[in-house]
Symmetry: C2
Subunit: 433 residues, 2 copies
Amino acid sequence: MPVFLDSRDAGFEAGFSGLLNAKREDAVDVDDTVAAIIADVRARGDAAVIELTQKFDRIALTPDTLAFSPEEIEAECARVPAAERAALELAATRIRAYHESQRPEDKRWFDEYGAELGWRWGPVGAAGLYVPGGLASYPSSVLMNAIPAQVAGVERLVICAPTPDGVVNPLVLLAAKLSGVETVYRIGGAQAVAALAYGTETIAPVDKITGPGNAYVAAAKRRVFGRVGIDMIAGPSEILVIADKDNDPDWIALDLLSQAEHDESAQSLLVTTDEGFGRAVMQAVDARLETLERRAIAGASWRDYGAVVVVRDLAEAARLSDRVAPEHLELCVADPEALLAQINHAGAVFLGHWTPEAIGDYIGGPNHVLPTARSARFSSGLSVLDFMKRTTLARMTPEALAAIGPAAEQLAISESLEAHGLSVRARLERLNR
Amino acid sequence: MPVFLDSRDAGFEAGFSGLLNAKREDAVDVDDTVAAIIADVRARGDAAVIELTQKFDRIALTPDTLAFSPEEIEAECARVPAAERAALELAATRIRAYHESQRPEDKRWFDEYGAELGWRWGPVGAAGLYVPGGLASYPSSVLMNAIPAQVAGVERLVICAPTPDGVVNPLVLLAAKLSGVETVYRIGGAQAVAALAYGTETIAPVDKITGPGNAYVAAAKRRVFGRVGIDMIAGPSEILVIADKDNDPDWIALDLLSQAEHDESAQSLLVTTDEGFGRAVMQAVDARLETLERRAIAGASWRDYGAVVVVRDLAEAARLSDRVAPEHLELCVADPEALLAQINHAGAVFLGHWTPEAIGDYIGGPNHVLPTARSARFSSGLSVLDFMKRTTLARMTPEALAAIGPAAEQLAISESLEAHGLSVRARLERLNR
């Protein structure tokens, strides 16, 4: 049974802390296996990737068939029904428009001594996106990872998408095509991450790897971090809905279930100012769980990690939400802007009654790759900035160096870094001649 | 002997690749030790921190003396000579001014269907800065880590700075005071990182940990990553200088040595269009190495990892520099702007003859915490953004949901996520009634 808590009850703090600290993921220790796979790919390149793909995905590849050919991609894309194609195209257009407004600006200025300061942004050279195979092979994730990279101006954008037993998801290939992906490799697991990070005879290395994956992929990303950039290591999905009594319990129930159906470890929380409404939502969830296709998964998630929390007022709801720092936060209240002003930590906020979280997963425009497991306290969803880097710039004039150089020299002496000081001193002496 | 390469020579590519791939750091495996320390601090809190500090730093603390008292900080700061204080204050002022221009902007707009989209930035709640003890206890690093956090609006900013054998660096405390740090704990190592990440009875946990440290600190940061945010794991420092013949060899020699003196693993590279100038710089380095205070360190770094590379022209220099993606890049040429336009990957660029890299370490304004080990290909130096996070916002209207909702529903069906689709469908049905 999901937890039903009331903030006025004596045991509330213990119950709420329990929700926060629920260990929703059993970290499988695959680190040794992954280390061996990475070493093998580094040592043997294509041959290792091909062998491992034969072993794990049961398909026989050659260096020539590691990637889908343009013809194969065209043929697969042609299989996508028109309605799905149109939906994917609308999603791509909207995601692109949103992310285009994220392009950062370069800046240059002169200080009071005439020194020029500033910075310049540039794209990473090459990015590799990981797309899981099987059930979790989501075309929407392709758009959400590839479009920010494309908008950033990344020159080479490739995908690794395993095809276990040769099963291909044509929507994934269409999404790749819509987002400017150059090459799609039909490889996965730690071997794909290793190939992207270190390169093989056929696969050129990239600078940044993003995208979701299983425990092996996550462990491999952690291991290659530093050699290449990675995005966050995503945990199970979560949603927190703050709702007053003026909501349709069935809408809110479906919003909660749309997280719960992702994964048995997903967490769906309702925080409401009205106990009766909270009970009505629980009933609505149960009713929907009778027929939902993924009721086994959604039911387990709701039973093990779901909760309804009754609070005194919306201010208290905001405080509790900040303690959760939810990945997704719906504000289903009369004045969502006033409530938003009280929220500090959330990955994505969905305002008002007409913004179900699923809109954000697909078509709203903002990214659906968001910080999980309370990490919205300190991190952000995926964006164009994740595929760019900033170079800082400084240009002293003789006058500026004369003005501020002596202080640098002083600090260098304080830190016992003599050559630092001398590199300034030598120049100042020229000026004093 | 440092390497002397000419891009016209047959063996050039092998020699240059050797420079790129020189393994400059022996990764000490301290992971098991660190895991045990973190577990101990999580289990026993203050008691563990105090015991470990006694063991590693040979000082006896109590929960009351874990942090410096305001009186102690005042007394230590009063010991700082006026010239050093003035230099540190000027540095703080300039670093603050530079970073204030990095504050990101919130954004909101309406799309063609009346849906409101955008994002909002906010500071992380609390940040902890690690400041090494002993020789590498640099007040400039305190400013470079704390001021961006302060500018970001971080509410609680604390420092962990070990004091082995009770030795305190008053400049570190003054730098902390100048940058709005609330509390300075005299603890270090993995135990300090664990205390910051998980909290103890005395030390409240933080959301983000930044700052340099030894192998134990780096391993601890890797381990707590996810629980809290961390900055990059910094490797040994490096500089690449691109210089034409119209430079003073002694200036360039000092610039190279100002990296080399940091660390025996530091790397200093000169890329020049003039062989004679390159040889003159090598001589100037040797001459300076005869008297430099840190000649043992700088000499070893220069001998093992230093290099002079002669190239045909500046375009080739830019291409080679991009392969290195140096942490620090000096452009000591007649037209540094033209050369800058050809550079893609560098942490910080210093333009022209009057901008020795040391200016950037202390007083230029840009941050000196920069990507090392070729990671400037995909990452940036520390900035205000590292202490902020972005929450994306979306608010549909009934009209907007009617326009784009069906596409979301279609994609949900394609991905077999029924509840996602139903959460949209239920709302659309209300509109159709």
